[in-house]
């Protein structure tokens, strides 16, 4: 699965946690989940859990801690589904 496909799928995972849905239209690798998308930082774990279930993967705590941007998310997912 290429990064572009993962990005489109990731938008669906982020959707329930993003109050302003329009912000999701223009996300890039550099989009910061908390600062740019205004996602509650407590919800980052829920996003990771949802992504794990969606792709049937396990993202360990150390990898999860590095997830700050959309790009980090895609990296973590891409690495596990290789």
């Amino acid at each position: 699965m290429d990064r572009r496909t993962i990005l489109e799928e990731l938008k669906k995972v982020l959707y329930p946690y993003t109050e302003n849905k329009e912000l999701l239209q223009h996300i890039t690798d550099d989009t910061n989940l908390v600062k740019d998308l205004k996602i509650n930082s407590a919800n980052l774990v829920d996003i990771i859990i949802d992504a794990e279930a969606k792709y049937n993967i396990e993202i360990d705590f150390d990898s999860a801690e590095k997830i700050i941007t959309v790009g980090n998310c895609i990296d973590a997912i891409a690495e596990k589904i290789k």
Binding site: P16, Y17, T18, E19, N40, A42, N43, V45, D46, I49, E52, A53
Partner: protein
């Protein structure tokens, strides 16, 4: 000068009506919210009826943000949010408000009896399967005892005292009294008060095992809850939530709020599990003292009470409760006021009983009626030895209702009594 406390908003989620208009219609007409629960037969419960609100979970999208709604679980939490925010809107306020505004003079006292076993069960299953990692961020906030107050206060931006309470079946009444006291003491000017309960199969099963539930009317659920009747054979568990907005009178007048009624005062105590009191039974001296203290605190003459909204669950304790009211008020026979039990229609909603019944008490003052006791074709002779049969209305009665006494008694021998009155601007 003593502050007066008035009620300016009402919200209710009850087995016989979700929202005040439907609930009001039901209690006027004596509509039962008790239904047969098919799953309870499979669980081998002796009693298979209960009162569960016809609750549309998706409506909560109109009460909390979409993000909060995603992952929200727990019936009692849902009921409580709806009742409290309905009451808030009913009092003429908007929800959400300015994102930077904290309402420092408004607080919340909201009670519940137990964490919802259904929700806790999911957590236990996950943890025991070694999958704690998958629980996510929303579990703690929904299993903590203060979850309902946390959701309500966060949604409304409340900045005064935020207190989650628990006093078994006296929870709702006690929460209302605490809110009243904070306003009386000048701690707060406005309080969101109430309680919420969902009796899931685990709680129901534990009561069923105590053999104190109505089990002879599984074929006729609407007849199962029979307070004060000779054929009363135990209570019917109910669920739901009641909420009231209490305000300092001056605060309410300053914002031109509509005033439903006044909360004149109340009392809360315990019989100490002595003198006939126990974990499960209220001691008569405690109950009598609680009612007497409430009447004294409210500054009313016992003879001026126009209606008693009893605890009256439909167990052997009903006759003793009537005796306690007689002794506390010094009234009996034909001199006793009308007495009714909302539980005849919705069952016993445990922690939510006091708040739902208080909403009913206020509505009876606003609309000047006494709701019927349904299923009371055969009044308990022990009760009729103390009060006249005319005190037990079985159909709705329209009459002047100025002052209502509302009491509830809970496990642990805790008692709470409130005195509501029609609002009179001259005091």
């Amino acid at each position: 000068m003593s502050r007066r406390v008035v009620i300016t908003g009402l919200g209710v989620v009850a087995p016989n009506g979700v929202g005040v208009p439907d609930f009001l219609t039901s209690i006027r007409q004596g509509v039962s919210g008790i239904r047969y629960q098919p799953g309870y037969k499979d669980l081998h419960f002796n009693s298979q009826v209960s009162g569960i609100p016809q609750f549309n979970w998706d409506l909560l999208k109109n009460y909390v943000s979409e993000i909060t709604f995603h992952g929200l679980q727990g019936h009692a939490l849902g009921y409580g949010i709806m009742a409290a925010l309905d009451a808030w809107r009913d009092a003429g306020n908007s929800i959400g408000g300015r994102s930077d505004e904290t309402l420092w003079d408004t607080g919340c006292v909201f009670g519940s009896s137990v964490s919802e076993c259904d929700v806790v069960k999911k957590i236990i299953s996950r943890v025991d399967a070694g999958e704690a990692k998958k629980l996510g961020s929303r579990v703690i906030e929904q299993m903590m005892n203060s979850s309902i107050t946390a959701y309500i206060s966060g949604r409304l931006g409340l900045g005064n005292r935020i207190v989650a309470t628990s006093a078994a079946c006296a929870t709702g009444t006690q929460a209302i009294l605490m809110g009243y006291e904070y306003i009386q003491q000048g701690v707060a000017r406005r309080m969101v008060v109430g309680s919420s309960e969902h009796v899931d199969p685990y709680i129901f099963g534990a009561f069923d095992s105590m053999r104190i539930l109505s089990r002879k009317f599984n074929h006729a659920p609407e007849q199962a809850s029979r307070p004060m009747s000779q054929s009363a054979g135990g209570f019917v568990p109910g669920s739901g939530s009641g909420a009231l907005i209490l305000e300092d009178l001056d605060f309410a007048l300053s914002r031109n709020a509509k005033i439903y009624a006044e909360l004149l005062g109340g009392a809360c105590n315990s019989g100490g599990q002595r003198n006939g009191g126990s974990m499960t039974a209220p001691a008569a001296p405690g109950v009598i003292r609680c009612i007497s203290d409430a009447v004294a605190n409210a500054g009313v003459n016992p003879d001026s009470i126009d209606l008693i909204s009893g605890h009256l669950t439909a167990t052997a304790a009903d006759a003793l409760e009537i005796q306690n009211w007689c002794l506390a008020l010094g009234r009996n026979g034909r001199n006793f006021p009308p007495v009714n039990s909302l539980k005849s229609m919705i069952g016993h909603s445990l922690s939510a009983a006091g708040s739902i019944e208080s909403v009913a008490a206020v509505l009876q003052i606003v609309h000047q009626f006494v709701h019927p006791n349904i299923n009371l074709e055969d009044p308990n002779p022990e009760i009729l030895r103390q009060i006249d049969i005319g005190c037990l209305p079985t159909t709705m009665v329209e009459r002047e209702i100025r002052t209502v006494a509302k009491a509830n008694f809970g496990f642990g021998d805790v008692n709470a009594c409130l005195i509501f009155s029609k609002y009179n601007q001259n005091g």
